[in-house]
């Protein structure tokens, strides 16, 4: 219930912030989206969702991540994401699992917004993309108790400092809205699929940093705060003239 409450609150905050952004956008002079420059700066994003869940939901899992997103022609967004994550878990069988590790993701987003000729130019994005994630981490599995119900006796086994590398891919869909000049809020939803499957007989990790619970397919949610460095200069006059001309044409019709 607590997780639902936190997510609802964060969702409401997001809605409010997006609404505020919209209100502010109306006042702003439109920015042309059809940038001619190939490299249109880059955005540094910090994920707030992982920080909120790590702080307020006491399930033994923490995660923190940030990313850099290049803007190529405002159509392609090569992205690098790095982070640190960990988990401490005691199972129903009283087995302890503990891990800490770094993770990286590389990929590209594509802007799905089609620019209509009569629409206002905007920097807001509706993107879909792919990622390749990887993490090389160590973990401990301790206090594994095996009880022999018929012959009696029990054995405790520990598997300390297990090292493993995991690779996975992700499909990402998201939205980014420019709240004020160069400052973005956004969210994205991710479907993750593990490439490095568990090998029978190995002590497999319960949690993979950057991926989540180690099941074949997983999902993730990011709520990002970002700042766009080195954006293309706004062509205020030209755009304003175009908009005014269009309005005049509509009135004439």
């Amino acid at each position: 219930m607590r997780s639902i409450f936190v997510y609802l609150i964060s969702s409401i905050l997001l809605c409010l912030s997006v609404s505020t952004a919209m209100a502010q956008k109306k006042k702003q002079i439109a920015i042309p989206a059809d940038s001619t420059r190939w490299l249109n700066g880059f955005t540094v994003n910090v994920d707030v969702a992982s920080l909120v869940t790590s702080t307020f939901i006491n399930n033994g899992i923490y995660s923190s991540e940030a990313g850099i997103q290049l803007d190529l022609k405002h159509k392609f967004f090569p992205t690098i994401e790095v982070g640190v994550a960990g988990a401490s878990k005691i199972s129903n069988e009283n087995i302890n699992f503990k891990t800490n590790g770094l993770f990286e993701r590389f990929g590209v987003d594509f802007n799905l917004r089609k620019k209509k000729p009569d629409s206002k130019p905007t920097n807001n994005l509706f993107t879909a993309g792919i990622r390749l994630g990887m993490s090389n981490f160590s973990y401990d599995v301790t206090n594994v108790t095996i009880t022999d119900n018929y012959w009696g006796g029990s054995t405790i086994i520990n598997y300390p400092t297990q090292n493993i590398s995991k690779i996975w891919y992700e499909f990402v869909v998201g939205v980014q809205v420019e709240v004020i000049n160069n400052f973005y809020l956004g969210w994205n939803l991710r479907i993750r699929n593990m490439i490095s499957k568990d090998i029978t007989g190995e002590v497999s990790p319960w949690y993979v940093p950057g991926f989540g619970k180690n099941v074949g397919s997983n999902y993730g949610f990011n709520y990002t705060l970002g700042y766009h460095f080195w954006p293309q200069k706004k062509i205020k006059k030209k755009t304003s003239v175009i908009i005014i001309q269009k309005k005049e044409n509509q009135i004439n019709k």
Partner: protein
């Protein structure tokens, strides 16, 4: 833009519903050795009928455990099969020993079966923990009711498999006087 806000809200709620995880183990952890009974009739004119599975009228099975104080083998209190009519028995091997002994009582006739095995730790998951599987090295029996025993599948784990065949010779003619059948013997026999 309103549709983006709507989608955000829907996804956030969906995420919360999906966050509920189940930490209970859904895998089977029951490791058992399966032994099937066969009757041997070498004089049958039909070759297919010379070795057939059969039901033992009454069998009682108990484990025998070495008592270091009395230095004797004692029956384990729990009885695995009690005067039952079966054609197959499932037996738990001792996780803390490499030899497991069972007492098989056929009405008034008692045989013992020794199973020599190695034990392997098999970690399943955090939810399920660890199980111990086995590899059978050798099987020996006494020959009061049973005539011989033979290893069929060496690996003993959670998968249903016929690990051992126990033979009863109805003609009372000893086919194999050596009641110890080890792994090497079986490999040669199979060739």
């Amino acid at each position: 833009m309103k549709k983006y806000i709507f989608i955000t809200l829907i996804f956030s709620i969906f995420l919360n519903i999906s966050c509920v995880t189940d930490d209970t183990c859904i895998q089977t952890k029951y490791v058992k050795l399966t032994a099937n009974f066969y009757v041997v009739n070498p004089n049958d004119s039909i070759i297919a009928n010379r070795i057939k599975g059969f039901y033992v009228d009454s069998i009682t099975v108990q484990g025998l455990k070495y008592d270091s104080i009395t230095k004797l083998y004692q029956s384990v209190d729990s009885i695995l099969y009690n005067n039952q009519k079966v054609n197959s028995i499932n037996l738990p091997l001792n996780n803390n020993s490499t030899v497991t002994i069972f007492k098989l009582k056929f009405k008034n006739v008692v045989d013992t079966m020794r199973i020599y095995h190695s034990n392997i730790n098999d970690y399943l998951s955090l939810e399920c923990g660890c199980i111990i599987t086995h590899a059978i090295d050798n099987v020996t029996t006494t020959n009061h009711y049973i005539d011989s025993a033979r290893i069929k599948i060496y690996e003993v784990n959670t998968i249903d498999a016929e690990n051992i065949r126990i033979y009863k010779d109805t003609s009372k003619i000893k086919i194999n006087k050596v009641n110890t059948i080890n792994a090497e013997h079986i490999r040669l026999f199979n060739k």
